[in-house]
């Protein structure tokens, strides 16, 4: 379980998160929606400690992410994250991209790591591209590779940060299909997204972010069909 309690985050003088509280249970799919600069992506970065926080606490399965004693490298093995910029490692083949972390972080042998990578890449439909370099892949394929790379660590949680925003429209579908598949398999996911139809379809709950706070939280039906706050309604009107 991910427990976020009254989190405040500043970038210099900019107050990005203003007291966010939220719990995400095992097996749940939570979507974060909201305008640019509303703090959704920053919230994700804080969950696996890529960004620090100034107040409040975040704990993952009871481990305080921002406590000094916490071994972040160890914690991050259990929290996969996929970014908007797919961030392929350009000097490694697709297979090596996925093998890297199991080998270096989990200490798997080359054979074990390769078996894991082949399986995960097959899972996201890239079984034919093992020896290719990322530059030979389309954006959608690179993004699916990034998902396989995160899955290779067998994480308990997956965080997705606007994973389709940088893709050509015709490539969005294949990546969303991969996310749908993961949700059906019971993966616990937090998805920051601008794809409202997708959010509605896969989410158990939807959180609407506005000016660094969760303005409204509820089931997709509640948020999309009968939003309670005028900001939520305004936002949905502007994107739908």
């Amino acid at each position: 379980m991910i427990e976020i309690d009254n989190v405040h985050k500043h970038f210099g003088t900019l107050h990005v998160l203003k007291g966010v509280s939220l719990n995400v249970k095992k097996g749940e799919v939570l979507s974060m929606i909201g305008g640019s600069g509303s703090g959704k992506s920053t919230m994700l970065m804080c969950i696996n400690g890529l960004e620090g926080i100034q107040k409040g606490s975040i704990s993952v399965d009871g481990i305080d992410v921002h406590a000094k004693a916490t071994d972040l490298n160890k914690l991050r093995r259990r929290i996969g994250i996929v970014f908007q910029q797919w961030n392929a490692f350009p000097h490694l083949t697709v297979l090596e991209n996925v093998m890297l972390a199991p080998r270096k972080v989990l200490g798997k042998s080359k054979q074990e790591a390769e078996a894991i990578a082949v399986q995960q890449l097959g899972h996201v439909g890239l079984g034919e591209k093992l020896r290719a370099f990322p530059s030979r892949l389309s954006g959608g394929q690179q993004q699916r590779m990034a998902i396989a790379r995160a899955l290779a660590m067998s994480p308990d949680y997956m965080l997705f940060d606007e994973v389709t925003s940088a893709l050509d429209p015709q490539l969005v579908g294949e990546v969303l299909d991969t996310l749908r598949m993961l949700s059906k398999e019971g993966m616990t996911m937090i998805v920051v997204t601008h794809e409202m139809r997708f959010a509605r379809e896969v989410s158990d709950r939807v959180a609407f972010f506005c000016q660094g706070q969760i303005h409204e939280l509820g089931t997709p039906e509640q948020i999309f069909d009968s939003p309670q706050k005028p900001e939520t309604a305004d936002f949905l009107r502007s994107v739908l």
Binding site: N73, I81, P90, H91, V105, A146, A150
Partner: protein
């Protein structure tokens, strides 16, 4: 005879032995310069200003003063303070630090050219800072700055000619010795130039070859 009346094979062999010294000093200096350059470059790229600026400032001194002055001063200090370091060591250290000053900036520019998001993605997989630097940042940075580094290595090779001023007989000095004997300065210097070219060319070719291979990726 093609080499003129008095230039013998022994003279050529003497010059080639000077070339071997040139290669040895080049290899040692480039090795020192690159190791220190990677270390300082990483520190310059990823440290707060109170670490980054002093390193940059000190290295600026070595970059700005002509190498010849540094060699002579370093060599004089060696005698004045009775360090008794061999002249070769003085030459390699001096050239090595000089190369490090340039290499640091090359490495820094390469490291800062690696997207932060890519480095974050690696860290998010659980890699430690060191694992990330070794597996992601350095290989990516190497591909970016490799042409500059080849340029530096070739520059160092030519700069080794200056160590003749502290009494080391490398290729240029050996050529001078031969010239004073045979009195054929143009011929001897042409041969020396040809030998420098033959030493540089493979490095430049190797560089071009590697770049071509990396471009495929």
């Amino acid at each position: 005879m093609f080499f003129g009346a008095s230039l013998s094979w022994n003279d050529i062999l003497f010059m080639l032995s000077g070339a071997v010294t040139t290669i040895a000093i080049t290899l040692a200096s480039v090795a020192i310069g690159t190791s220190l350059g990677v270390l300082f470059g990483l520190a310059r790229a990823g440290s707060p200003w109170w670490i980054s600026w002093p390193i940059g400032g000190i290295l600026d001194i070595f970059r700005s003063i002509p190498l010849l002055i540094q060699l002579v001063l370093f060599n004089s200090f060696n005698s004045m303070f009775r360090l008794h370091w061999p002249t070769y060591l003085v030459a390699c250290l001096c050239l090595g630090i000089y190369a490090a000053a340039f290499c640091t900036e090359i490495v820094r520019s390469g490291v800062t050219a690696v997207p932060t998001t890519t480095r974050r993605a690696a860290r998010s997989l659980g890699l430690t800072w060191f694992q990330e630097v070794v597996s992601i940042t350095l290989p990516m940075a190497t591909r970016i700055v490799f042409p500059s580094w080849i340029g530096l290595a070739l520059g160092v090779m030519k700069d080794t000619a200056l160590v003749l001023w502290i009494g080391i007989v490398e290729l240029l000095r050996s050529s001078q010795i031969v010239t004073t004997r045979v009195q054929e300065p143009l011929l001897v210097l042409s041969i020396a130039g040809l030998i420098y070219f033959l030493m540089s060319f493979p490095i430049a070719r190797l560089g071009a070859q590697l770049e071509k291979r990396w471009r495929i990726q």
